[in-house]
Symmetry: C2
Subunit: 849 residues, 2 copies
């Protein structure tokens, strides 16, 4: 992010300033349309004047951030609500079908199994055809995009449509899939599309930095309106997508997420689902004595167990994906029949959950939402003393099995759902894993809670046995802990408060979530980081919990020393060699091979453009023509005129249009610049040459003349000409150079390097020593170093790196030596323009004698 947009922003700012200055000129006299209106002195005239002014005011406000954020919130609330409605309808349809066929078990089974299979297969096929980028969670991609990496096609309308429809079908099938990840992606696409749409009115939507800010806000909106949890949404999105967060942008997320959650819940009220705005999964635990202090160890156990469970889930999920990819026969087969895998998985899962079959042991007929509602239930399910006569009412019925008790059902549910969820989230449809994990966590919590209730039937607090244990509270804790462990976030705690509408269990939830995080983070990466690695997206691993060893590794240990560079006075042949010998995207530009003073960095594409420009057919043509013309002996050579013009252009009034768009390949620049400034007087005697230049300007259609002239050169001649061209010194004046690439020093610690890379979103940095280029560090090296030392635990502090250190001399010397060399060079080879120092003797006396 840092080095790349420097130039763009500059250009942008300049254009913007010019535009604003023009606007400024407009504003003092805005009477033009109203002046016109005064001629039509109708009755409506004042109204129309007013309407016009309103319109102008509105358009001027469209560019404001808050308008954008509120619009985004509104759109996302509508999208979210519509999707929820569609998903509910789908699930209702399945239930209805299943219920209607209760005369025949086989038919029932067919209906139960076919329905989700068709939906999932359709979803997979649809996404595959329309936009394969819509597959999966979307959070890993958003994390990458927010780091500044440009992923193509990830924020387009096509992907949006694919994701919305694919997700609706996938969730409508009743598979254990989540929607929070896809919602983040959908909200981001919404923001991208909205900003493109609004840029038709205002002008501020093209800015890169601003877009990133808006995308960050959009992620918050996505989570926020998925759970109707604005605060938790903002925090979750920050934890999941950012490494460093600008507190400045905090309010954006809050504004958009709050508005979105508000509209989302208002829609529910208007739809008569609810009487007023309440939480999604409202709980009704008692407030006066939510839990006993002595229950805290049980909550801690839930936290620690969830930590292990979360790590296991991530591991399982990754192993399934890797197994699919590595088994070549399976892989080849699946690549051919892409829709077979989703169909197969859905078939297995839905067969196992078939309520009259195995599903009766795991509450198979409940949807995810119903499961959560029952798990957060206020009552105690286990039979105990007084409440022996407790009847499972309504949907609670599902958890009871005549031949076993609720513990068996819960255990079976947890075990089955665990691998099912891990498997289901690998299906190539738009889906997340948050909600399934959340449900499993709630079930686990409930299990612990019911056990506690069975163990202490009258509550722990012996003095007053009025306060029973509330297993529902344990379910809340378990849900927060397991989802926190899988995603490595703490803010799931806030999400459960907002989801349940009760904050009375704050301390148990916080303790469990923190413990779960501590355990999970020390075992496995987060689910999203795991997917990032599987998908091989550019990423930077986090420094672990205890990262002391990072303070001991330094840049000099990990940097690449043998790097290719471009010198200021190199020849085109050197450029060619450099391009062939390295694949770096940014090449350092140094003053000379001796001094190695870093002047800037130049993009690979720019170097390529310089080269191809030098060897372009146009130039060859020109040379040829020049030769032909000089044979006539009557005219000045074209090339001199051409280069006079370009020299003039760069010193006096510059060729602005070309420089304004520095991203365009330099190829097009050379012909266009003389085309801009011909009227100086050159038209008189360079008629044909300029005409050909004009023609050459349209590179797409080579003129006949060009063809003829081009043909006149034999391949050998061309080769000779090219060799000759390659020996020329490079003219960098047309290339776009980043004048301040990011620099590190050899001493910089790995910890600091990591911080700087994530802060600024760098993908490479040059290592300098007193201005001299000595190496380069890219994301790859950093990644290796961090993972290398993260896996090697304990006392072994710098496992693969120590060898480097020993091979090089102590850096304190190196530093001094470098400075001294530079200094000596100055002493012995004063620059030609510098006054020869008269005091050399004074200096040499103490040194050289």
């Amino acid at each position: 992010m840092y080095g790349r947009y420097t130039q763009d922003l500059g250009t942008f700012a300049k254009d913007e300033a010019a535009r604003l200055r023009l606007q400024e000129g407009d504003t003092p006299r805005p009477r033009r349309p109203s002046e016109l209106l005064e001629y039509t002195q109708g009755r409506c005239a004042p109204c129309r004047v007013c309407a016009l002014q309103c319109q102008r005011f509105l358009i001027s406000k469209v560019g404001e951030d808050w308008v954008f954020l509120i619009l985004l919130g509104l759109v996302m609330a509508l999208v979210s609500w519509a999707m929820d409605f569609a998903i509910a309808t789908c699930l209702q349809a399945q239930k209805w079908m299943y219920g209607g066929l209760d005369t025949n078990v086989l038919l029932q089974y067919m209906a139960w199994v076919t329905y989700p299979t068709v939906l999932i297969t359709f979803s997979a096929g649809f996404t595959q055809i329309l936009a394969p980028q819509a597959v999966g969670s979307g959070i890993p991609e958003m994390k990458t995009i927010l780091r500044g990496v440009v992923l193509k096609e990830y924020l387009t309308l096509k992907t949006f449509v694919a994701k919305v429809i694919g997700l609706t079908c996938a969730l409508g099938s009743g598979m254990p899939l989540g929607k929070e990840g896809p919602f983040v992606h959908i909200a981001s696409m919404c923001a991208a599309l909205l900003s493109r749409f609004l840029s038709l009115f205002g002008g501020f939507y093209e800015n890169e930095a601003r877009n990133i800010e808006m995308l960050a806000a959009a992620c918050a909106v996505g989570v926020g309106c998925c759970f109707a949890a604005p605060i938790g949404g903002v925090l979750f999105s920050i934890e999941v997508t950012s490494t460093f967060f600008a507190v400045r942008n905090y309010w954006r997320g809050f504004l958009a997420a709050t508005f979105s959650a508000f509209i989302f819940r208002v829609l529910a009220v208007w739809n008569k689902d609810e009487e007023t705005i309440t939480a999604l999964f409202k709980t009704r635990f008692r407030l006066d004595f939510p839990f006993d202090l002595q229950e805290l160890p049980a909550f801690a156990v839930i936290g620690i167990a969830s930590g292990f469970g979360g790590a296991l889930f991530v591991y399982l999920n990754r192993k399934i994906v890797q197994f699919m990819r590595r088994q070549k026969t399976i892989n080849r087969f699946l690549m051919k029949k892409r829709l077979l895998f989703p169909a197969l998985v859905t078939l297995i899962i839905s067969t196992l959950t078939f309520p009259p079959g195995f599903g009766q042991f795991m509450a198979g007929q409940l949807t995810q939402k119903d499961t959560l509602v029952t798990l957060f239930d206020n009552q105690t399910w286990a039979k105990q003393g007084l409440s022996d006569e407790f009847e499972y009412l309504g949907i609670l019925e599902a958890w009871r099995h005549p031949r076993s008790n609720v513990f068996v059902t819960l255990v079976v549910f947890i075990l089955m759902k665990f691998w099912m969820s891990a498997l289901a989230t690998t299906i190539p449809v738009p889906c997340g894993a948050f909600m399934p994990v959340f449900v499993i966590g709630a079930a686990f919590g409930r299990l612990v809670g019911e056990s506690m209730a069975a163990w202490f039937p009258d509550g722990i607090h012996t003095e007053s046995n009025t306060y029973r244990i509330v297993p529902g509270g344990y379910a809340v804790v378990g849900a927060a802990a397991l989802s926190g462990a899988v995603t490595h976030t703490v803010s799931t705690a806030v999400i459960v408060f907002e989801l349940t509408g009760q904050i009375s269990h704050i301390l148990p939830v916080m303790i469990a979530v923190i413990l779960a995080n501590a355990v999970a983070q020390s075992l496995q990466p987060s689910l999203y980081d795991s997917i990032i690695r599987i998908k091989k997206l550019p990423y930077l691993p986090e420094l672990g919990w205890g990262h002391h060893e990072k303070y001991n590794v330094r840049v000099e240990d990990i940097m690449v020393r043998d790097i290719r560079y471009v010198t200021l006075n190199c020849r085109y042949r050197d450029l060619q060699q450099v391009l062939h010998s390295t694949k770096m995207k940014n090449l350092p530009l140094v003053e000379s091979a001796e001094s190695m003073i870093l002047l800037g960095s130049i993009e690979r594409a720019q170097v390529g453009a310089l080269l191809s420009n030098q060897l372009s057919p146009q130039r060859r043509l020109l040379t040829l023509r020049q030769k032909v013309l000089s044979e006539d002996g009557h005219r000045l050579s074209d090339s001199s005129i051409r280069f006079q013009i370009s020299t003039e252009a760069s010193s006096g009034t510059p060729a602005r249009p070309a420089l304004r768009k520095p991203l365009k390949p330099a190829l097009k620049r050379v012909p266009s610049s003389p085309a801009d400034s011909p009227p100086a007087g050159a038209t008189d005697h360079t008629g044909i040459a300029l005409k050909s230049l004009f023609c050459a300007n349209s590179t797409a259609e080579p003129t006949e003349e060009e063809m003829i002239l081009g043909d006149k050169m034999t391949p050998a001649e061309i080769l000779e000409w090219e060799e000759q061209q390659l020996d020329q010194l490079v003219d960098f004046s047309s290339a776009k150079i980043d004048p301040a690439p990011f620099q590190l020093v050899e001493h910089t610690s790995l910890h600091k390097t990591h911080t700087i890379f994530s802060l600024l979103g760098l993908d490479h940095a040059f290592v300098t020593s007193i201005g001299r280029l000595v190496g380069m560090v890219s994301l790859k090296e950093l990644r290796k170093a961090i993972e290398g030392s993260v896996t090697a635990k304990g006392v072994k502090v710098r496992p693969p790196l120590a060898s480097f250190r020993d091979s090089t001399a102590s850096t304190s010397d190196a530093d001094t030596t470098a400075l001294r060399q530079l200094w000596d060079r100055h002493q012995h080879h004063p620059m030609p323009r510098e006054a020869s120092p008269g005091g050399d003797d004074d200096d040499d006396t103490p040194k050289g004698q």
Copy 2:
């Protein structure tokens, strides 16, 4: 932060690595103590071995982050609890005194007024004497410290004691003062002291970067255990102290704050204050229908009004301080009698709140805590239909006045408390403003709520009139909104949920807080920023809500062009001139005045050290001795030996000990380095010289010989000698140079510059153009630029800056030209070592003809 610690960290890491390697060597044979124990084959031997191993394990764990965080949480919980206890006792004592004297109003008044006056005066005096740094909130200072600025004496034990005792007295007086700011400060001091204490065991506590991370966590702990609100505490501290937040450090805050809040509440349970862990100000609003959708406009009104109120509070607070400072007579008087102002303010405020006097109209006898409890009460106070017979019970009694109604009481309370709080927070005692503002906001919310309840006695929802309006909910919303407006934070919303233990009003609270923030942020800086400005701490203003214009200002508009620099081949005289002509703390080091290629930056102190070293009496002595010795003609001159040694040292085995401590003035280096390496054979013939060198090594006690020799030079000779020395070329090899100071480009937008400065905590950056130094931007310029364009609203985009732009040439050219110059220089003056390019003609043909 960026440039400054680079070197330190490097050195630190190196030492650390060495230390660890030594440790590593130790660990494989840890049997030493147990081997010894085997001789004493007593019964306890296994126990003692075990204990020893445990001890060793514990000591190794002491360095872990989580141990530190838990210890911090524990300590802060204890401190917080003890202070709360003391404050409650103080307040109880006042109540008791006031209650016991109810026979005589005058005596009652005396007691009511004297008690707080004495406490506040003591607090002010105590703080003034022990540590004046403890005065005030502490959040502004912490914000500055977390930016990387070192404020002296702010984190010492003395300040800690002063703050704790001063705050206890101040809050015990019953004045409208808060404790959240001081708690942040206290927690930070706790962390600093704790890390210094723990560094006696582990070695990782000296690291600068880590300390900053720990301080950030400590701030969270401070807020968290002040309100028993871990989540809100973490978020509030982030919003208030950070500009960019590392998500990596998120868990630190949560862990410490949760543990702290947990212990804090557990202490309450053990003290039998509570039956179990609950919220501090628990509310009992109904859960099933917390509020009607149609009440939302009222909540929005609270938000907007709070926004204006918050801005007014900040303005009032600042104006009071400025008035005190500007009125010279007042100022002079107050400076003389420092304790008069606190006493006077306390006298006025306590007189006005005297319950039998004016206090009866503003619930004067209630403490802050009681006020909040009553304001968050579940019942409706205003008389309406059915509940006409409602009786004010217990402490609610205070709000009733026989001759007026509750509305009058509330309005008087709000108005009086508003200016009282604004005034009271200017008293020079440790105090914050959060809690008073929170109370005022709650009262305002209550007022609106009671009005709504009076307006719609049967609730708004006409279909079912079972749901009345809950004025307590309005109070919660008002409290969050006003405190959010004053501090410019959104997380006050989370704090109120945790304080009240209910989250049912989430949407009204969020809407009100966001609106309040929007209004307040567009009118005034936050209270903490306002204090930062008053105290003139180094700060960087935030970019406002709509900061479009920031994209149009560029570094070239705001940078200082005329900067002093040090060239690589300069003389000591130049250094002297530079030091005299500028006050910059970091001087750029450039290759030469012609090339201006930036090589690094050198600290002012280093330059000073170089100079004073060159002109040191030791060197003069040496010269003199050399002269004396060379007059003998029998020996080699000392200086040659000396310099041979130092040259050797810098090329071969270097003078490590000196280079390892680059912060020490170079002054001491020269004598110590020959002292390290005399046995080479120089002892033979440089007996006296070396002896004197050894003596010179102990600079504190000049030997007699030295005195004599020093006296031998006349002042004129000294002057001549110094002039001669100043003409020598500077030897930079002993100076500490930061080889990669932060660089910007002329194009960089103000927005990006601001981001980078706050991200990296810079206080200056050099502006380069293709490696050439062209200017410098420091915090001052940035501040000016941001505030200049923030105050000028609307269309006027770049008010004082436009002039700069027009005076300079277009930068696109400037860039190209600079490159061209550099390139030309290379063309025409090839470096002597470079092979003279044979293809020059090829290049010149198109260019020069």
